[in-house]
Symmetry: C2
DNA sequence: GCTTTATGCGAACGATCATTCTCGGTCAAT
DNA sequence: ATTGACCGAGAATGATCGTTCGCATAAAGC
């Protein structure tokens, strides 16, 4: 039997005829574990998922799994970081769009769509719940979002300076509130509740427009 | 030593000189357990908190605790229901206010304030995370909110009929989205992040106004 | 008074948990 | 061909989990 095949039954993860280096294979195995862990965490939560379940899902023994992650805590940290980084990237895309409102709505809709399609809402909810009692997770969340917030702030300030927008409240208060609203939309997975993307976008546009270009009090 | 005193050390929970009936005392004990459990769940999560921890927090042995709740699952269910019911009551108050926008903003601010002062945000986050994988919890959340949503829908429809408001999207889509946004604000506990109540209210008013009385497209 | 019922304690139970250990095998380098 | 680092399986470990049990005590009903 030629090539690698580390799975004894079911699908083989490493293609039997594609030779890979040690380091490459290691990365693939790490990815395999993370995929399995993510599945289990979504299904049972961080504390609820057992290492044996994760091993079974990954088709790997505990001894093997522990070669790649020193502890369950480390796996939680790794998955949290990957998830938060992924989210951050979606938002960074909006900073290219010269129309602030449109850029914002587009990015937010991409986020809602991604959350719906990937089925990651439970994982995100789990991360947020865990972040409120686990300092390490909390730091990961803050760090991943702080660079986005910083760039976001600059992006908005530029638009303010050129007179494109005039936020209803100071930017320091505006940004956390927008993040909070976005999280609410993400966790609730509105498309799954039957709300159409069209309606979500329509209401979001009205809202963002009002927040960034408020009506004058008459 | 007269009267009851079931705590061997530390504070006594049942006043030593106030005779209470069996049923009354039972209710007090149940409340005692629920308070302790809530504290532990906030600290460690539903799965992370152990029955021994809850026993210690309640100043009660496992044997005693199990006289009041048949299982940990039952305790989680009871605490979830109490929390959701509490939230529902806050929102029901808004249906008295004839000005929809003002009623809405007032209720939402009461919610934000309550969430901040009670320090219940972690519990709420935990409940939402658990609800995504535990059908019983999910049903509790839906039930507690469905009566509110129904009354909310009627309240809004009345306002639409009399021409007070003209929501940007259909009510069926509007309500879930508003709930989602509210949850985001609740979980994030903005006052704890330094955002003032004043700013929260200001942006909320602008937003609600825009959603319910949108500008016409020019 | 005596009996019945409700409480409470805390040791003990079996199950399951995260993690470790041992050992046989495989790869890359010599 | 031999070596040495790496990898993987799976049994084993001690800890901890949710829950139960037996027994003592106190109150309620007669």
């Amino acid at each position: 039997m030629a090539g690698f095949d580390f799975v004894m039954d079911g699908e083989s993860v490493v293609d039997a005829d594609a030779p890979v280096s040690r380091a490459e294979r290691r990365d693939l195995q790490i990815q395999r574990v993370m995929d399995a862990a993510k599945k289990c965490f979504v299904r049972s939560g961080f504390q609820g998922a057992s290492m044996h379940q994760i091993c079974a899902e990954a088709g790997m023994s505990p001894g093997a799994l522990y070669r790649y992650f020193p502890s369950k805590e480390a796996m939680i940290a790794a998955i949290t970081e990957a998830d938060r980084r992924n989210d951050a990237e979606i938002f960074t895309a909006m900073f290219e769009n010269p129309d602030v409102v449109d850029g914002f709505v587009t990015a937010a809709m991409a986020h809602v769509r991604h959350m719906h399609e990937s089925g990651n809402a439970p994982l995100f909810a789990e991360i947020r719940a865990e972040s409120m009692r686990n300092d390490a997770i909390e730091r990961t969340c803050t760090m991943a979002m702080s660079e986005v917030q910083q760039a976001f702030g600059k992006y908005l300030q530029d638009a303010v300076d050129r007179g494109d927008i005039a936020p209803a409240v100071e930017l320091d208060a505006f940004m956390p509130m927008v993040v909070a609203i976005g999280e609410g939309l993400a966790i609730n997975d509105l498309p799954a509740q039957g709300v159409t993307f069209e309606n979500i976008e329509k209401l979001m546009r009205v809202t963002v427009e009002a927040m960034l270009r408020p009506r004058r009090r008459e």
